[in-house]
């Protein structure tokens, strides 16, 4: 129990909490904008009611997402002062761009959208929600590129005891960043799609405005299926890119200890970190791991044992998170494709069990997103900036234990209250349905 441990715990908890709300924001704003576009184009009141209904749920979520994000910007300086000094020249740029380009856009135009229904033209009002969607997605772009630099530093030089940006085009050309951006954003779209489908399913089951919620269910199913497939495509690129760069995260994600050629893929695997091996490897698919990692069935992949032990992160947590996330990803593809099929045939109401499954499935994409971040962030340990700065050397040296205990207790209480209230209100208004509209 020291400043480092508590600061890590605090950042993990506050980032994870923030990321309970961000994906829903990203993933619901697009369907809401589409719903409003349909209303604008067809004049069909049903789309207006859906827009306002899902819009209200979006707003509850957005508010919590915003405030919990400010804590992260503050925390870099507060708890990770040495990190901030070391990377600020590079890392500060995408953060400043995120604020200047994205936060202003989404916050300003969301204000206009909430209050401008009767005050501005329908066209301008529609443009407003699309600008919010653009702002949110731009925000994801910049923060993910900041994170990408931590994972794979590019475009920099080492000078004056820190990293200094020397090539912004190179910084933006970081393949890790682009793949991560698309993978993460499409995952968030899956969260949003399942949310809209789940809420729609609830009302269809309760026979409350089923003919309207059928429309939102269908829209979300297409959105979700396309997104789930793209998550997989970009996820595959992401993993291959990680293997290609010989970033040991690849070996942790798949718990590979020994360097080997023509590696098989065990469907069942239990790592044994202490003994640097796997306790159990079963249902091995021949050549698959080499194919996944190198496109070549006889490709060679290095094992974790070729990296010094003090440079390795926790294997079990990273590996288990990765496998679970991938499994969930396949589940999402299956469920969304089924949803598309049933929606297309206008037959969702005939399958109440299916609707119940879609309702219960809503939390699963949230879980998958958390697992993905565990893979990325735990998998990068012990590095804060891969290969350059260790987490253990990044925290603020001036802090006293009492200060961090104060803040972590504060966050704990405030976030617990926010989480309970926020989700309670989202549930309450989701259940209410279209009666207010």
């Amino acid at each position: 129990m020291d400043v480092l441990f508590l600061s890590r715990l605090q950042f993990a908890l506050t980032a994870a909490f923030h990321f309970l709300f961000v994906p829903m924001t990203l993933g619901v704003v697009v369907p809401v904008a589409v719903m409003q576009t349909f209303w604008y184009k067809t004049g069909d009141e049903k789309w207006l009611r859906l827009t306002r209904f899902f819009g209200r749920l979006f707003l509850i979520n957005f508010a919590i997402g915003v405030v919990t994000g400010i804590s992260l910007e503050f925390q870099f300086g507060m708890n990770w002062a040495r990190y901030s000094r070391y990377v600020g020249d590079v890392f500060g740029v995408p953060l400043a761009l995120e604020a200047a380009m994205a936060f202003f856009l989404e916050s300003t135009f969301l204000g206009l959208w909430i209050f401008g229904w009767e005050r501005i033209s329908r066209k301008a009002h529609l443009a407003a929600i699309w600008l919010v969607a653009l702002g949110s997605n731009l925000s994801a772009l910049w923060i993910l590129f900041a994170n990408a630099f931590m994972q794979r530093p590019v475009g920099y030089q080492l000078a004056n005891g820190r990293v200094e940006l020397v090539d912004f085009p190179a910084f933006m050309a970081n393949a890790y960043g682009w793949v991560k951006f698309f993978h993460t954003v499409f995952s968030a779209y899956v969260v949003g799609a399942f949310f809209v489908m789940g809420v729609s399913a609830y009302h269809i089951l309760k026979k409350k405005d089923p003919e309207i919620f059928r429309k939102s269910f269908k829209l979300a199913s297409y959105f979700g299926a396309a997104s789930a497939l793209l998550v997989f495509v970009f996820g595959d690129f992401h993993a291959k890119d990680i293997w290609f760069f010989r970033n040991y995260c690849g070996y942790i994600m798949e718990s590979v200890w020994e360097t080997q050629k023509a590696a098989a893929y065990p469907l069942i695997l239990v790592p044994d970190e202490k003994n640097e091996t796997n306790k159990l490897e079963a249902l091995k698919i021949p050549y698959l791991l080499s194919v996944l990692a190198t496109y070549d069935p006889r490709g060679e992949i290095k094992g974790l044992k070729s990296f010094p032990a003090e440079d390795r992160p926790p294997v079990l947590l990273t590996f288990a998170s990765f496998r679970t996330m991938v499994g969930l990803g396949f589940l999402f593809i299956g469920l969304t494709l089924l949803s598309v099929y049933l929606s297309y045939k206008d037959e969702v109401e005939k399958y109440p069990l299916f609707l119940k499954i879609m309702l219960c499935a809503v939390p699963l994409p949230y879980l998958a997103m958390q697992l993905g971040w565990i893979v990325a962030e735990v998998g990068r340990q012990p590095w804060a900036v891969y290969g350059l700065l260790r987490t253990g050397e990044s925290f603020s040296k001036n802090l006293k234990l009492s200060q961090v205990m104060f803040s972590i207790a504060g966050y704990g209480i405030i976030y617990a209250a926010l989480g309970v209230t926020g989700f309670y209100l989202i549930f309450k208004y989701a259940r209410k349905g279209l009666e207010h509209y």
Binding site: L59, I60, A63, I64, V67, T68, I70, E73, F74, F76, G77, M78, A81, R82, S84, R85, V87, G88, D89, V90, F91, G92, V93, L95, A96, E98, A99, A100, M101, F103, F104, S107, T108, F109, L110, G111, L112, I114, F115, G116, R119, A124, N160, R162, E164, L165, V166, F168, S396, N398, L399, Q403, F406, S407, G410, I414, T421, G422, L425, K428
Partner: protein
């Protein structure tokens, strides 16, 4: 390189100035709401008057923080780690305030949210006043930095500046309410805004009188920055007098405009006075955190300058557009102006 560092002192200050001038009235509204409004409709009116704007205004703080990180990473690291508890409390205030605006309308019991709006607006106003009061003067920064915590900020100067901020934002908020609302509460707010001007006058005068006695070993009266400081304080004083004139004449838009100008000049003056330091040391100038010893490299500063020159005018442009698009008045007795 030096030119860019100086440019960034100006741009950095500008972001903070924009934040205080804009979120200033949101914070003021939050502080006075429970005292000015007599019923739920009146409270709703105050909240809805800032409803479309407060989040966009708050982003100026996030941008100021982000810009500090990018342009002066060492200053960012020092400021946020040395002022850990005060800034955590500012953050807590912003969290409480922010969620209260959105979630208040959705529960039966609004009392809790009203308390959060008050506390969540008062805390950032007061604490940022204490923080900047000290940053504009000096802090006991030694080889290991500043370790005085929150109590170390609440010296005479810090405490006074905290009250200065609160009184200025209260006045700013009351003028905004008087401008944006109609009916009984509008009249009440108008009356209080004149009174708040007198309170602000008291604190402004006290602040100016105590300026020469502020612990600021780095300040020398010669040079461009001190000259600018004097000029800006003079312009601030002139704007301040104009506020009262316009209020008395019942010209609310001009009064609010003068209040905006007043805050802009006040903050411009205060930042000019601390140039080139971001965190000046009262112990020794070798421990000053300045734009010259805490900045990013030339390349980053160039990129950040391009970003600022492109986006700051654009953002101001579309924020002004939104203010104008939603310039209707809100009447607590006319529900159609309240809802959306």
């Amino acid at each position: 390189m030096e030119i860019l560092q100086i440019t960034w002192f100006v741009l950095w200050s500008l972001l903070w100035i924009m934040y205080f001038a804009l979120d200033g009235f949101d914070l003021g509204c939050g502080i006075v709401m429970n005292f000015i409004a007599r019923d739920e409709n009146e409270k709703r009116s105050i909240i809805n008057s800032i409803g479309p704007f407060w989040d966009g205004n708050e982003v100026w703080l996030i941008t100021a923080g982000g810009a500090t990180f990018a342009a002066f990473p060492a200053a960012y690291a020092d400021m946020f780690s040395w002022l850990y508890v005060p800034l955590f409390l500012v953050l807590a205030g912003l969290i409480f305030r922010g969620v209260s605006f959105e979630l208040r309308g959705k529960t039966e019991n609004k009392r809790v949210w009203d308390i959060f709006i008050f506390a969540g607006s008062l805390a950032p106003a007061f604490l940022l006043g204490a923080v900047f009061g000290n940053l504009w003067a000096s802090l006991p920064v030694g080889p290991a930095g500043y370790s005085g915590g929150l109590t170390g900020l609440l010296n005479v100067n810090g405490f006074l500046t905290a009250l200065v901020f609160v009184s200025f934002f209260v006045m700013h908020g009351l003028i905004w309410i008087a401008l944006k609302t109609e009916g009984e509460m509008d009249q009440r707010a108008y009356g209080y805004s004149v009174k708040s001007w007198h309170a602000a006058f008291f604190f402004f005068a006290l602040f100016l009188l105590l300026l020469p006695f502020r612990q600021n070993p780095n300040f020398s009266p010669a040079g461009t920055a001190p000259a600018l400081m004097a000029a800006f304080y003079a312009l601030a004083a002139a704007s301040f007098l104009l506020i009262r004139k316009k209020l008395k004449a019942g010209k609310l838009p001009a009064a609010f405009g003068s209040s905006l100008a007043f805050l802009i000049f006040f903050f411009a003056a205060s930042f000019s006075g601390s140039y080139p330091n971001i965190i000046p040391s009262s112990l020794s100038p070798e421990f000053n955190v300045s734009v010259f010893n805490s900045s990013s490299g030339l390349y980053t500063l160039k990129i950040m300058t391009a970003v600022a020159l492109l986006f700051v005018p654009l953002v101001i442009g579309y924020q002004v557009w939104v203010y104008r698009a939603l310039n209707h008045k809100i009447n607590p007795r006319k529900p159609e102006t309240l809802h959306y």
